[in-house]
């Protein structure tokens, strides 16, 4: 139950993937958490949080949570004056984990509003509350396009892969300046790409790592159906068939600009490391939660060929898919993975000096087939998230 010696944490983004995991672990550790979140049209905030705690199997910790409906874009975060003052008086530390995580340029205004404009109210709240620490959940990719070795420093580049990276880098600088000016202790936590729990495969979000696999599964199912139920004319036209061992041969060339890896960490590592940082960090610290043994796409392909009983997937480095003739599955696949392509052949090295120091060399596990299998089986079981809260 609540541990009075621990500071009360104000947390944004608690309804999201990382925020909810963080909330869950902090509750188990005895923290009291004030969730600054949003209700949806269908569900009030309190119900959303209760549903998540049920998913974590810790509904009994609901009494350690206070849910406050907020609008981060409004003065006083859209909270009534009296309640605002009361919250300022009880909050010990602030974790800002809310973020618009869309990569799409068409959503630039929305992303910038959520990730940059909303900072004003959050930072003012932290100043009024005289928080011990302001922890900002950022991303390792604020490094943008230019660097090869990414230091645990504030970002300097102006060229980014997408609007999301740009907004997160901009936010880091704004937050750092504000905290510096107002003597607020700041830590910036930068995970790379986060997948499900390495122990049990559970996850709440199925993008990034999951998307290419889900795409192949969809394409595979379309052609399997054609082969099994419709004579397979379309499949054969595209050189797709079931081989002697029962594998679907699905010619799928994945073009990647260069050789490189996918830097992924499991959510359990993210949570453990973040809590260590929150409990042990020093003011101004920036922390990379990245994997020193990133995963090759060729390894991933091997994994999913094995799991999905598919063959024919080929990685080709150094060319762009733009001007090549693509078969229908390749075209669809290209489209599906387009936003993630830059992260699939990454060879940046992330400095982890600060992280290793405060987490006592806590490292993410290597992405093995066993972990992969657990994660994908869970994803398929919950239909890539569609039936995650059923029952």
């Amino acid at each position: 139950m609540a541990d009075k010696s621990k500071p009360t944490i104000a947390l944004t983004g608690a309804t999201g993937f990382l925020g909810s995991h963080l909330m869950s672990s902090m509750l188990l550790k005895g923290y009291t958490v004030i969730v600054l979140g949003r209700s949806t049209k269908e569900e009030p905030l309190y119900e959303r949080i209760s549903r998540l705690l049920r998913w974590f199997g810790i509904e009994n910790r609901l009494n350690q949570v206070t849910c406050v409906d907020t609008d981060l874009s409004q003065d006083n975060l859209g909270i009534e004056n009296e309640e605002y003052s009361r919250l300022c008086s009880v909050v010990g530390s602030f974790i800002h984990c809310a973020s618009d995580t869309s990569f799409s340029e068409s959503k630039r205004d929305k992303v910038m509003a959520a990730n940059i404009n909303n900072l004003k109210g959050i930072l003012e709240f932290s100043r009024y509350a005289r928080v011990n620490f302001f922890h900002y959940i950022s991303t390792a990719y604020v490094a943008g396009l230019s660097e090869n070795v990414c230091k645990e420093n504030l970002p300097v580049t102006n060229s980014f892969t997408n609007v999301y990276e740009e907004s997160k880098a901009g936010a880091e600088n704004i937050i750092a300046q504000y905290c510096d000016k107002n003597s607020i202790n700041l830590s910036i936590i930068r995970p790379s790409i986060v997948y499900g729990d390495s122990q049990n495969g559970r996850s709440l979000k199925f993008n990034a790592l999951y998307f290419p696999i889900r795409s192949v599964q969809s394409i595979r199912d379309i052609y399997l159906n054609d082969l099994k139920n419709n004579g397979g004319k379309k499949a054969l036209k595209n050189g797709i068939y079931i081989d002697k061992e029962g594998y679907l041969f699905l010619p799928l060339k994945i073009y990647l600009p260069k050789e490189g890896d996918l830097n992924i960490i499991p959510v359990d590592y993210f949570v453990n490391a973040t809590i260590k940082i929150i409990e042990n960090c020093f003011p101004g610290g920036i922390f990379h939660l990245t994997n020193n043994s990133p995963t090759r796409m060729t390894t991933l392909v091997k994994y999913y060929e094995q799991l999905m009983k598919v063959r024919g997937v080929e990685i080709i480095y150094g060319k762009s898919a733009d001007n090549l003739s693509r078969n229908p599955s390749e075209e669809l696949f290209d489209r599906f993975i387009e936003p993630y392509r830059p992260y699939l052949s990454d060879n940046r090295i992330f400095d982890r000096t600060n992280t290793d120091l405060v987490t006592g060399n806590l490292n993410p596990p290597e992405f093995t087939y066993e972990i992969f299998k657990k994660c994908m089986e869970y994803a398929i079981r919950v239909n890539w998230g569609a039936s995650i809260f059923d029952n």
Binding site: K107, S218, N229, K234, P328, S329, W384
Partner: protein, 621 residues
């Protein structure tokens, strides 16, 4: 005589099926190419068509009329060929043949049990009418007059006429009018009874114009002259054979009747116009029985328009010369999806202003699901897929030549082209099970419908849905399935151009429940249209009547549009009828209010008898 309680396949008794006949007269046209009831074609009175037999059977079960000589003839002349099952199932999921069987049994049993058939009752007036039109073409037999007691709505109470007459020439009509004037007898003109406001039903005499089916093409003058008994579907077919197109109303509506009642409008009105835009000339028999034509210098000014007032009829329209429109061989249809009505409205306005496309119309997903689905059940399942999985809330139908379609692509709007539409349509049952749609939805989260921009999406879509006439027909009644499989192998059945020209699907709208449309002309103004939709919704909710957005078609270079909002009711439920009457009154009052308040909204009911007006007079004066 007891109601035949043998249930038909859809769980209805023949009596229930008969009571649910929508009176759309679709069984009078060969819209499926499966033929029309032979006895109807021979005898012409509606009574000899499936629709008439449905009304007759209902009346017999309810003991409204005795068994007469014509009743026996009507029952006997059905050979249970089953053609009407195809037609009626296609539109309403009903099987009239069971009703026909019940009707025959009813009459046979009556005769077997020694019942006395009521002989005809000649009177002086009938004799005089017969002198004009001939022995076979006038009657007061109740088995026939009862079948003229309905139109397709229940807004007005049914009325049984004393006589039904079927003249063949304008001279006969002129003589009839003079005879009725002399004897002070009310007469009412009837086409296919498609009027919603009770103007095709009355006591006195019904003059049914269905024998006057002449169609004369004058290609050098780009016109076709039609008799008053020609249905839009039949005229369009003849025009298409010669390489032309006409601006056609609902397929079973008679062309002349339609002009008289409402003026012709369709999605093609975007370019072909409305009302006088499509009429070159017309002939009338006036109230005194004299014949005049629209082009006569001395003819009344039918081009004028009076708003908020009902004009009197100028007479009986006995022919109309309609414009023929050219057709190019590169026309095709597309469906452009939208998430909001506002965006769809902006799109059609832009297209209309820039003269892109021949025909344009916005429909909601409810309607498109109903139009495309062979059964009610599938329609409701498909709707949620459109909305939840494909994120499609509105669709704009565009018919255009290759340049128009290419331009829409260049404007950046992804769309379902004819190929994708084929797959979507004949693959509907697979859509229900398609898990990969979830991914497609996520794919287009950032850019709506971007999946349609994938070059080979059409091929994948086809592979995934495995569309085929057999798949499409799998939920259709087993005995009818082979017919439908063959039907849907025919190219025109999935051709968006053909479907928009002939409009055979729109009748499916009444499959669940009959509907009453509120129609108006107004600017393509998002705020105004949303305001009106909201108010129609509130009216419907107040009276607990189902309702939905109908369609919007831009006209006159995008300066105005035709807007239909629909109200659904059960016409076998007296309470529902009371409610729909109130809804109709309030909806019309609302339109009148807006007409006065804005000076830009024109209610469609006032077009009655003003269908020949210039659109400029209607829209802008």
């Amino acid at each position: 005589m007891k109601n035949n309680v043998n249930k038909t396949d859809n769980g209805q008794t023949p009596y229930e099926t008969a009571r649910n006949c929508r009176h759309y007269a679709m069984c009078k046209i060969d819209f499926l190419g499966s033929g029309v009831c032979d006895s109807g074609l021979e005898k012409h009175f509606v009574s000899y068509y499936p629709q008439g037999r449905m009304i007759l059977y209902e009346a017999l079960v309810e003991n409204k009329i005795p068994i007469t000589e014509k009743c026996v003839e009507i029952a006997d002349s059905c050979d249970l060929c089953g053609k009407c099952d195809y037609q009626c199932y296609f539109l309403n999921e009903m099987r009239p043949t069971k009703v026909m069987e019940a009707l025959k049994n009813h009459v046979e049993t009556f005769i077997k049990e020694g019942g006395k058939i009521k002989p005809p009752k000649e009177d002086r007036m009938l004799t005089e009418i017969k002198i004009i039109v001939g022995e076979n073409w006038a009657t007061n037999d109740e088995a026939i007059t009862i079948t003229y007691s309905h139109d397709l709505s229940s807004i007005s109470d049914p009325k049984i006429p004393d006589y039904v007459v079927m003249p063949d020439t304008k001279e006969e009509i002129s003589s009839l009018v003079k005879l009725f004037n002399k004897n002070n007898i009310t007469y009412t003109i009837r086409g296919n009874g498609q009027n919603l406001l009770g103007f095709a039903i009355n006591e006195g005499v019904i003059i049914d114009l269905n024998r006057m089916k002449t169609i004369e093409f004058d290609e050098k003058n780009w016109l076709v002259k039609v008799g008053p008994g020609v249905a839009a579907f039949d005229l369009q077919k003849q025009a298409q054979k010669r390489g032309f197109r006409i601006n056609a109303a609902e397929p079973a509506a008679l062309v002349c009747a339609n002009i008289m009642c409402s003026g012709i409008m369709s999605t093609f009105s975007t370019t072909y116009g409305i009302n006088a835009d499509n009429i070159i000339d017309a002939e009338f028999v006036n109230k005194e029985g004299s014949i005049f034509s629209l082009n006569d210098i001395s003819s009344p000014n039918l081009y004028s328009y009076k708003n908020l007032e009902h004009k009197n009829s100028p007479g009986i329209c006995i022919s109309a010369s309609i414009k023929l429109h050219p057709v190019t061989d590169d026309e095709s249809g597309i469906l452009v999806p939208f998430q909001t009505l506002e965006n769809a409205l902006d799109f059609i306005k832009d297209c209309a202003i820039r003269h892109i496309g021949l025909a344009l119309g916005i429909v909601g997903t409810e309607y498109i699901s109903v139009f495309l689905s062979p059964t009610k059940k599938m329609a409701s399942e498909i709707k949620s897929i459109f909305v939840d999985k494909l994120n499609i809330h509105w669709l704009v139908v565009v018919i255009g030549d290759k340049y128009a379609i290419r331009t829409i692509g260049e404007m950046g709007f992804p769309f379902f082209d004819q190929n994708l539409f084929n797959s979507l349509y004949l693959g509907l049952p697979s859509l229900k099970k398609a898990q990969w749609l979830d991914l497609v939805k996520e794919l287009s989260d950032d850019e709506p419908y971007s999946y349609l921009k994938i070059k080979s999406f059409a091929e994948l879509f086809e592979t995934a849905l495995s569309p085929s006439p057999a798949l499409y027909s799998q939920e259709i009644d087993k005995e009818l399935r082979p017919f439908f499989e063959k039907l849907f192998s025919r190219q025109e059945m999935t051709d968006l151009v053909w479907l928009n020209m002939y409009r055979i699907m729109s009748t499916r709208l009444g499959r669940k429940k009959p509907f009453l449309p509120a129609l108006m002309y107004l600017p393509i103004d998002n705020i105004l249209i949303n305001e009106l939709s909201d108010k129609f919704r509130l009216i419907a909710e107040k009276h607990q009547i189902d309702h939905d957005f109908g369609f919007i078609t831009p006209i006159d270079n995008g300066k105005r549009c035709i807007f239909e909002y629909d109200f659904f009711y059960d016409y076998n439920d007296p309470d529902d009828i009371q409610r729909i009457r109130k809804v109709a009154t309030e909806a019309n009052m609302l339109i009148d209010d807006y007409s006065v308040k804005t000076g830009k909204v024109k209610g469609h009911p006032y077009v009655l008898y003003q269908g020949f007006c210039r659109k400029e007079n209607l829209l802008y004066s």
